[in-house]
Symmetry: D3
Subunit: 137 residues, 6 copies
Amino acid sequence: MSEKVAVYRKENFNAAHRLFNPAWDFATNDKVFGKCNNPNYHGHNYELIVKLTGEIDADTGYVYDLKTLSDIIKENVIEKFDHKNLNEDTAEFKNLIPTAENIAVVIYNTLRAKISVKYTLQVRLYETAKNFVEYPA
Amino acid sequence: MSEKVAVYRKENFNAAHRLFNPAWDFATNDKVFGKCNNPNYHGHNYELIVKLTGEIDADTGYVYDLKTLSDIIKENVIEKFDHKNLNEDTAEFKNLIPTAENIAVVIYNTLRAKISVKYTLQVRLYETAKNFVEYPA
Amino acid sequence: MSEKVAVYRKENFNAAHRLFNPAWDFATNDKVFGKCNNPNYHGHNYELIVKLTGEIDADTGYVYDLKTLSDIIKENVIEKFDHKNLNEDTAEFKNLIPTAENIAVVIYNTLRAKISVKYTLQVRLYETAKNFVEYPA
Amino acid sequence: MSEKVAVYRKENFNAAHRLFNPAWDFATNDKVFGKCNNPNYHGHNYELIVKLTGEIDADTGYVYDLKTLSDIIKENVIEKFDHKNLNEDTAEFKNLIPTAENIAVVIYNTLRAKISVKYTLQVRLYETAKNFVEYPA
Amino acid sequence: MSEKVAVYRKENFNAAHRLFNPAWDFATNDKVFGKCNNPNYHGHNYELIVKLTGEIDADTGYVYDLKTLSDIIKENVIEKFDHKNLNEDTAEFKNLIPTAENIAVVIYNTLRAKISVKYTLQVRLYETAKNFVEYPA
Amino acid sequence: MSEKVAVYRKENFNAAHRLFNPAWDFATNDKVFGKCNNPNYHGHNYELIVKLTGEIDADTGYVYDLKTLSDIIKENVIEKFDHKNLNEDTAEFKNLIPTAENIAVVIYNTLRAKISVKYTLQVRLYETAKNFVEYPA
């Protein structure tokens, strides 16, 4: 049983955001981002799925304790983003547009720094049930 | 077939909001509303289910054309709330706390004015998959 | 424990149908039923939820054996409608428009004849995740 | 706004159980409960939805703080049943068959004792996505 | 941030179809396709998920505007298949059996012709919640 | 059309299990497995998705008949695990901890022996909606 198994953990956070590029005027932002450019923000229930790939530990039968993975996600991602305004309340999106793509990359990089490199990581982020992203692809 | 049938239509909107009572100081709001009191707002993917009850029309087999119901909901509710900040962008919540309960009542009253009283209406609103409300109960 | 408990069983069937009133010309049907009036039919994955209300039997802890309820639904409803053209293949909709409302009433009447009147019945039928009906309301 | 609004909170627990009536021999239990009578138990991911009905508090916009409702459910229901063998580990089902119906009644009675009678309560319990119950009906 | 990100968009269509090979007699078709060979057709709520992989555009934070992707899917796929009889109403399945596999390949080829080759595409198609396909694998 | 298509089939089973390593004392098992180490077992509604990849057969339009795949899964996996205690009732987990990872590997190996090697297989197993695994990764 030396082949790889992937384990997945799902978590949630609810946040406000606004999509706009400060280098552009309002008309350009409006054309590119439409109603997502509302200056007063709108929001989403984000659903986050973290995939971690590795070998099964023969003693535990686990690739990775999903309770531990959940705790790492909660401490490093959910605490930071849940019930927050991504543009206003987080350092990560002061100078980065909080699109689902960028949020997924930020979450991946955050978790990558906390989990041994012997495990492969991938992040899937649902902004809505119809729009979602995955990184790395 | 004179008995009543209920028909349901589901729609969605994504919005930002903040829960706080302007008559209270921040500490009281924080105690009552916790992280929902974030001054910079947070947000949700709201899921709205409208229930309309009436008799089946023998000619159409419909209680009510759900395409028409969908159009009424979109024109009167979704257009007003989708990708908006409920506190800042809507007249309805200038002086009313945008809790799920109050949003459901506002949506019900809005639709009630647009649909013949021969039909009974009820609104269910999901703020998250775990928290939802229904009006009238 | 003499109060009532409701038990629910979910089943599925996939069927084709067309909505049109043979008493009307095509233009009128087109206006009323739109793309649902396609003469070559379209189809749905119908999801059926049957609610049965009664008292808990002290010996079994059941209101009604849900395996038995499932069998009754399968024999009397699913066998008849699954992978069928509701307009062409079923006696029930030879002279009745197969709207979700009418299908729900037909299913209710079918099951009502098979289950003791000491139990209350109600049928919910999802035509899609966004459009569904309930009878009796 | 003196009309009633219902608020709902969803929680989960995972448990093992066995359905059998100790007053019956194995053959009778096998006939009535089939594979649910496995002496070594089987299990489910139970999904619990608690409905609480009351009036909106004008100061908070809440019928009932859903965080408080969640805490009450977790302390009184989830702690007791989650990752437990309902037959072996709980006082409630020492002499009561842990059918979904009986579990729902037990949960209702447990919560009823903890929440002011000015609120109406109802419990929905999913044993699987296809089998679920509601009390009171 | 030169690594690839995948973005996904979900759309729906409802259609009738029949599975049969005109080169075979009815008995052979019946043996191979069972109830899916009903000459009067049956139908499904198809759920389509399109995956597009590319690099994040630094100016927009998008890999690809999902509103644009949605419009392309709607104009080229949903308009053609929604509320249609796949066998009778579409050129694509005049001489091709409308299995989920073949529908997915047809949709992929349709979209591939409309979207720059700098993006990788993949199509997932749910015929029911229990049966679904993906192309290319 | 010589490229590969993946087809998926979803099935379910409900089972009890306990996570513990007999080589360890209770305290160590408790530390590693927490409430999953309950000696009286707990349980889950397992959701199993089997992915099979191959080429479309030009005569049938199928990669693989999903009814056949369903039958193979039911006969070899569901019959063995459904309404069972994985630790007590199955040979596979007499000496193997029934974690989701190990269950997925066992299911994969079981199905691999029943399906032609010209098809690639992969198994996804949901223990809960929040915890799931995939093999091979």
